[in-house]
């Protein structure tokens, strides 16, 4: 399960690290100077926070950082020993274990740890109900304001009444943020943040589309390292500049037909959250001529275009659109069929992720439908996205080997 860094396909990818460093430094500087810091769930209305000058920290993202540094287990165990079930989302176990840490020396925390305490908590049911429950626990501990953006699951495209429901909540959030910050809402600033968000998301969509080229210019592992600005910084200039540059580099790679691997034979799609403590699995397949060309987690969780002609409804529509976790199973299937075709994929690898039920339920149906309707084979591997206990690297690789063999024989 070594995570040693690989040589990257794109030079721009090396800029992701410094962006992350700067983000964390600014977060701590804000906290130290008495500015409010939010703890926010992914998929929350981050652009709104930035327009109020509130910097968001992401416990979920930070849990992924700890998992990728092989630090997750101890934190999960700490949460479990405090009574939280081992079956709960491992992101939350890592975060709660961090906050509940006692009786032994804490490891040195990357980036200096999450800024404590949170001044405001912002969450949403868009990815899952678990976020709301986790944030309720945080509120119980920190007694600070909690804002929740509720949302229904979306079948096909969001309906007008679903969009209305988001808009009315956004307006209520604006009112509460005015109270919280004692400042007047600056609509121009908000619209500027939305425009920046939309621009960055546009580049990201292009980047994902460029990966549909044959050969694929960049794989999953490297792109997992490049997604952070899209998760955390939407609404600022940073992701705009980063993804614009990344797209340009990718375009030139595609023009030169420079593939991620020298002799691409098998193109794969990955579904679910990456196994953060074994990202090497993504590059493991490369020695067999295989490359991951598209991931539902990278393509359909973050970003999203905004119709700027009607910013509030446009923003609400973006919040409800193209988010894998918020799609009905039927919509997930239709989306996946399009992507299999668009990316000329030979197979799909599903991570059946025991602590992310919202992502995983329906995968068996997706597998069966892909086989039936497109003749595309799938592999289902079992693991938890961040809790490494019980994970078998060798078993997973063995199953991957057989799957790649199967695809090769079919070609």
């Amino acid at each position: 399960m070594s995570q040693k860094s690989q040589k990257r396909a794109l030079k721009t990818s090396y800029e992701a690290g410094p962006i992350l460093q700067t983000y964390w430094a600014e977060l701590h500087a804000a906290k130290n100077s008495g500015k409010p810091v939010a703890w926010a769930s992914g998929n929350g209305p981050v652009e709104l926070l930035y327009s109020f000058g509130i910097l968001p920290a992401y416990p979920e993202n930070y849990a992924a950082v700890l998992a990728s540094k092989q630090m997750a287990l101890e934190f999960c165990q700490m949460a479990e020993s405090a009574g939280f079930s081992r079956d709960l989302c491992s992101y939350s176990k890592i975060n709660l274990g961090d906050l509940l840490w006692k009786d032994k020396e804490k490891p040195e925390m990357p980036f200096g740890g999450l800024p404590l305490p949170p001044d405001i908590l912002v969450t949403t049911r868009i990815p899952c109900l678990v976020q709301v429950k986790w944030w309720e626990v945080l509120q119980d501990w920190y007694h600070c304001p909690l804002m929740i953006l509720d949302a229904p699951l979306v079948d096909d495209a969001p309906t007008e009444d679903q969009i209305d429901y988001i808009v009315v909540q956004l307006k209520e959030m604006i009112r509460r943020l005015e109270d919280f910050t004692h400042t007047k809402f600056d609509e121009q600033k908000f619209i500027k943040a939305l425009a920046l968000s939309d621009e960055a998301a546009g580049y990201w969509d292009d980047i994902m589309d460029l990966r549909a080229s044959v050969p694929c210019p960049v794989g999953a592992r490297e792109m997992c390292g490049n997604v952070f600005p899209l998760v955390a910084l939407l609404g600022t200039q940073v992701p705009v500049d980063f993804y614009k540059k990344l797209r340009a580099e990718l375009q030139s790679k595609v023009e030169m037909k420079a593939g991620m691997i020298p002799d691409e034979k098998i193109r794969l799609i990955y579904d679910n959250i990456p196994i953060w403590y074994d990202l090497g699995l993504f590059s493991y397949v490369e020695q067999f001529g295989a490359v991951f060309v598209m991931e539902t987690y990278l393509r359909y969780v973050w970003g999203g275009r905004i119709d700027m002609t009607d910013p509030y409804r446009g923003y609400a529509r973006k919040i409800l659109s193209n988010v894998w976790l918020d799609m009905s199973i039927d919509t997930r299937f239709k989306t996946l069929v399009n992507d299999v075709k668009k990316h000329k994929a030979d197979g799909v690898v599903f991570l059946s992720n025991r602590s992310c039920r919202r992502y995983s339920i329906g995968q068996y149906e997706l597998r069966d439908m892909l086989q039936k309707e497109l003749g595309i084979p799938s592999l289902i591997i079992e693991a938890d996205h961040s809790d490494p206990s019980g994970y078998s690297e060798s078993q997973t690789k063995l199953r991957m080997d057989s799957f790649l063999e199967l695809i090769k024989r079919r070609k």
């Binding site: 405090a82 009574g83 939280f84 079930s85 079956d87 709960l88 989302c89 939350s92 049911r125 899952c128 109900l129 678990v130 709301v132 429950k133 986790w134 309720e136 626990v137 119980d140 929740i148 509720d150 229904p152 699951l153 009444d161 429901y165 009315v168 909540q169 209520e172 009905s328 199973i329 039927d330 059946s352 025991r354 602590s355 039920r357 919202r358 995983s360 339920i361 329906g362 995968q363 068996y364 149906e365």
Partner: protein, 376 residues
Amino acid sequence: MANNFKDLLIRQKELAADWKSKGGKVMGHFCNYVPDEILHAAGILSIRIFGSPAPVTHADAHLQTYVCKVIRSSLDLGLKGELDYLDGLIIPYTCDAMRLLYDLWQKNLGGKFLHLLDIPCLIRGDIGHTRFQDEVIRFKRAVEGYIGNEISPDALSNSIRVYNQNRSLLKELYNLRRKETGLVPCKQAYEAVLSSFITPKELHSSLLTDFISDAKSRLSTKQPPEQSSKVRLHISGSLVTDIDFYDMIDEYGGDVVSDDLCTGTRYYWDNAIEGDNDPINAISDRYFYKLPCACKHPNTDRHEFIFDSVRQGDIQGVIFVMEKYCDAHLYDQPLLHEKLEKMNIPVLVIDAELGLSGQEQLRTRIQTFMDILKRK
């Protein structure tokens, strides 16, 4: 008398068949958020699907095993044809797995009336209120579409009265048992509650009226049961459908006098307002403001209900029955646990996958817990 409710539970399918033989329709639903009164007003027998503790045989091909047993076993029952007698099914958006069950049901068992009650997570405040009410009205229209008739306000008002009566009786039974320990064994009390989910309400209320007056007459004729030394317990969690669990508690000297289960107080605690000009509002509000499930926000009213119950001073211990993989309750439990311990209330946590009584080691744990409480 005492066995009537048990009989109802055993004869569930017979009851449904009787109803259908008279030309009625029967619909199933999950959880505690489907406004039954609307179905009742449409002449439909509404019954709750509890799932089954039996091993899952068909659903594992569609759903991972790390999903709660209610969902897995209910899909299993559907796939095995055991729910074929239902004319329709209503699935509310309570937890994520329940919402996704709707999609699985639609794909694998579609064809009949299937309705997603797409209620919000937010159950306090104007924003959630409007959305909740819109969904209740949408549900009413769907039922009207199904029966091909409008449901009149008078019919809804009548159904409110029928349901309120049943809930009030269940609450009366709760209060009576709480005051008079041992008057009604806890197993019988919970059989009364569980059977209410599956029985025509008018029939159930008439049985319940007799049951309560019978219990009261035992009280007035001074035949108090000799079990006053029973350890008084509150049960916390989502659902307990394994009725023998209550027997097990009884056997080791316990009596469940309070709970916050959706197969308990959360089902009957709150009534709808009668006499509202617009009964659909009263129905919607009843479900919106009722004692909430852990999957709704905020659910502090449930927490306060537990603490208030304990503060009455007659509860000696709390048993959490935690359905495995039920995220919503599993996040709440450690917080509640800690606060109860600060109130000096001993706590026992047990895991369930619907079935409880079959777990041999559970007997030992319950026995030990009772022994500790008796010594306190």
